[in-house]
Amino acid sequence: MAEILLDVRGLTHRYAMTSSRSVTALDGVSFQIRHGEIFGLVGQSGSGKSTAARCIMNLLRPTGGDLHYKGVDLLDPKQRRENRRMLQTTRQLIFQDSASSLNPRMTLADIITEPMVINSVKPPRGSMRAEAEFQAAKVGLSPSCLDRRPPELSGGQRQRAAIARALCMEPELLIADEPVASLDVSVQAQILNLFRHFQTEHGFSLLFIAHDLSAVHWLCDRVGVLFHGLLVESAPTTELFENPLHPCTRALLSSVPLPDPRRERQRRLERFDTDTLPAAETLREVSPEHFVLKED
């Protein structure tokens, strides 16, 4: 079994509302990502998926828990300072909203190669321009887009630029927060193929955050299901889709739309009531690698 690249243990994050009130977005979430593995994190909107991504990228300081990446404690400022370059070059994040995560005053060519400029990486393809063109072609952006700025482009084009920017560093761990949600199906297929290609050819690891379960089913090796900040179930993909144990997972799976009119119209949404969730629960291994939140 491959070595663990990212180790998340008991990750907890509370957003303070006022001095006395707070919202618990993540509540003791633990999972591991191995080298060359694609881990999917799924859940309804508001279940804490993006918060998890931001904590792992050190964009948010978690309220509790442990985060280790390649043996480096991500919550220890000293260790982070010492490994700054490694952390900045081998971890990359694709933000959910490409409209607000790309600088509107920069051209796409500059945006895509900015990580290389910041980390003074020598472009392997000669010039920065050639590098931008190479990355743009990989995500299916035409070279004519490179001289334009984000506001002039469609959502799909911007999203592809954001993906190209993350991939230009050839990261070891890519965290992708809903990377394909705003893309058309044909472009989506291209990006999913690209992620798969990077995994098999370059052995990179991916934390794939999505609400489109059909893409998760196709792409991911293992999946974790978040519900109101709790990791309720995690298992290898086929196991999870064939044998979902937690009612949250079953409700989530029943919401997957099918491009097949007859089966789609027979699909019933499984209702899941928050009140039925027992208060005290622990994560237990029911079969190899299949963990589910159960009553004590």
Binding site: G156, S186, A189, S214, W218, S255, V256, L258, P259, P261
Partner: protein
């Protein structure tokens, strides 16, 4: 007689780069009580088509030719003042983004009441309230009386989309245009909103034009589908025909690129190249350069709509009797 009939509609935008032909010779019709889905990728002209039909185009757009007839009234030749009266009464629109379609400083009850009063100015206060509560429960919002006073920020995305739908239904339109009503929602809520559209049709007999890029949504909600590419409708048929027996290579490509159809571990089909610019579009079939099944004639002459069945039409030369027989990569039988 169909409720909505669009004949040879063409819409262009005048841009500094030249004339952008967003919608090119589109014809379709819709019967009373029917749900038609218009599917296509972003930039294929589906939203422009919808806005052209409802006469909501910006000033930069120009309707070059064609006519729109709703319920026997020719909309394209009508003065704006009269169209304004019909909006809401005969047809109305459900907008894409429930965040920006609602006024954040008015309670949802007041916003629905506004839509009710515009079309029935003489209605008494108590009657208006009665009607708003009725609309709220129609769109599936429980405890309507309590919800009346809430503001948009108090509601979840799904509830907001329901309120937007209630506003559109306020004056009892016979035809509803829904422009991507589910894109901003997560999967479970999408299903609920799509079921709501079907439920409204069942109860009020409202026809709906559903605009979407999501084939799952089309499969769930629509009776008929029209696939658009580069400003043209390339295939139209019943939902079953589109999904189980597609004939246009573009429809094949769309269906093949869905991850839910693909086997795990197999590469997904992706359409190579990029859509053509609609400034000076190619003379032949616009999809030909990206189409692995393209024939020589596709590059020269654009195909007419070929009839497959009485409800199923597709614009591809592959349906010409002289075309070589190829095995479609998908469908071709009843099961899909």
């Amino acid at each position: 007689m169909p409720l909505l009939e669009v004949i040879d509609l063409s819409v262009s935008f005048d841009t500094p780069g030249g004339e952008l032909q967003a919608v090119r010779d589109v014809s379709f019709s819709l019967d009373a009580g029917e749900i038609l889905a218009i599917v296509g990728e972003s930039g294929c002209g589906k939203s422009v088509l919808c806005k052209a039909v409802t006469r909501l185009l910006p000033d930069t757009a120009r309707i070059k030719s064609g006519s729109v007839v709703i319920d026997g009234l020719s909309l394209s030749s009508m003065p704006e003042r009269k169209v304004q009266k019909l909006r809401g009464q005969l047809f109305s629109m459900v907008f894409q983004d429930p965040m920006s379609a609602l006024n954040p400083s008015l309670s949802i009850g007041a916003q629905i009441a506004e839509a009710v009063r515009v079309h029935a100015p003489c209605m008494k206060r108590s009657e208006v309230r009665e009607r708003v509560l009725e609309l709220l429960s129609l769109v599936g919002i429980d405890r309507a009386a309590d919800m009346y006073k809430l503001y948009p920020h108090n509601l979840s995305g799904g509830q907001r989309q329901r309120v937007v739908t209630a506003v559109a239904l306020a004056s009892g339109p016979r035809l509803l245009f829904a422009d991507e009503p589910t894109t901003a929602l997560d999967a479970g809520l999408q299903t609920q909103i799509l079921d709501l559209l079907r439920d409204i049709r069942q109860r009020l007999g409202t026809s709906t034009v559903l605009i979407s890029h999501d084939l799952g949504a089309v499969a769930r909600a629509a009776d008929r589908g029209a696939v658009m590419y580069a400003g043209k409708i390339v295939e139209t048929g019943t939902t079953e025909e589109i999904f189980y027996d597609p004939r246009h290579p573009y429809t094949w490509s769309l269906l093949l690129s869905l991850p839910s159809r693909a086997e795990r571990g197999r590469k997904l089909h992706s359409i190579s190249g990029t859509p053509p610019t609609l400034i000076d579009p190619p003379s032949g079939d616009a999809f030909a350069p990206r189409n692995p099944w393209a024939l020589e004639i596709d590059y020269e002459q654009s195909p007419p709509m070929f009839r497959v069945t009485d409800t199923h039409f597709a614009a591809t030369w592959l349906l010409d009797p002289r075309a070589p027989k190829i095995t479609p990569p998908i469908g071709g039988n009843d099961r899909g």
